[in-house]
């Protein structure tokens, strides 16, 4: 969930704030999670909605200057570091909806049905957002990706 938030939020303090708020809400009302059919998808849905709400507040936009979060773990080699930084930068170029779908598909290994349920979409919309996003990533990463492979 934290990795998902890192992909959506714009700074580390937002990630932490949202994570803490989710845990506090669940602590106040534990039945929320108990009633969920799929607790993992439920947490991802909560996280997504809270980030969307957060972005609606104009004041948060000022925090963008604080710098992007580190989505990926540090790499051992310069080539791999360059690749990971390029992927992170390319991900930030994508619209939030595509970024969310790509993260859930690639790094949370959810199916399109599960992604659709988590983000309140139809499975077809989830799949098309994923395809559009991957195509953009391919274009953005082509120079680096072809150099490395």
């Amino acid at each position: 969930m934290i990795a998902f938030l890192r992909n959506l939020a714009h700074c580390e303090s937002d990630v932490r704030d949202v994570t803490q708020e989710i845990f506090c809400r669940l602590a106040r009302d534990p039945a929320l999670l108990a009633k969920a059919r799929n607790p993992r998808a439920f947490l991802l849905t909560m996280a997504y909605r809270m980030v969307v709400d957060m972005h609606r507040h104009a004041a948060v936009r000022e925090r963008y200057a604080a710098g992007a979060v580190e989505i990926f773990a540090p790499a051992a080699t310069p080539d791999e570091t360059l690749f990971r930084e390029s992927v992170a930068a390319a991900m930030r170029e994508l619209p939030g909806e595509q970024r969310a779908v790509i993260h859930l598909k690639l790094w949370e290994a959810l199916t399109f049905e599960e992604i659709a349920a988590a983000l309140d979409l139809s499975p077809n919309t989830a799949a098309s957002r994923y395809r559009y996003g991957i195509d953009k990533l391919r274009t953005l990463l082509r120079p680096v990706y072809e150099d490395i492979l």
Binding site: F23, C24, A73, V87, L106, Y145, L149
Partner: protein, 118 residues
């Protein structure tokens, strides 16, 4: 999945900072309704049923004690040593004595008490 998707999926995500876990869980614990129960000492929480039963017994004893109409009356009739008993107290004493005299085995004891007290 094509090659790029597989390559992306293999990228390890940054782990969350170690200090976050404790801070977030302690903030959530404060919001939890169960947090208020934690103020009870550990020994009370360990045997909740036993302590509950004991408390219920004390409540029952207290209730029966208060519900007994003769309790207050008897207490007011108690004779304090060194003070002259009132007429009511003397009357109550003789009434009690009469009742006890009807109980055959108590007669001898009562007569002994009479010899010392009166």
């Amino acid at each position: 999945m094509n090659d790029l998707e597989k390559r992306l999926a293999e990228l390890p995500l940054n782990p969350s900072p170690p200090d976050w876990r404790e801070a977030i869980l302690s903030a959530a614990e404060k919001e939890s309704p169960r947090a208020k129960v934690i103020v009870f000492p550990a020994f009370l929480r360990a045997h909740r049923v036993a302590w509950g039963a004991l408390a219920a017994c004390w409540l029952a004893i207290g209730f029966l004690n208060l519900a007994d109409p003769s309790h207050g009356e008897l207490y007011s009739l108690a004779i304090v040593p060194g003070q002259t008993p009132s007429v009511t107290q003397i009357a109550a004493y003789f009434e009690l004595r009469e009742q006890l005299l009807r109980w055959p085995t108590a007669t001898a004891t009562i007569l002994k008490i009479d010899r010392y007290k009166l």
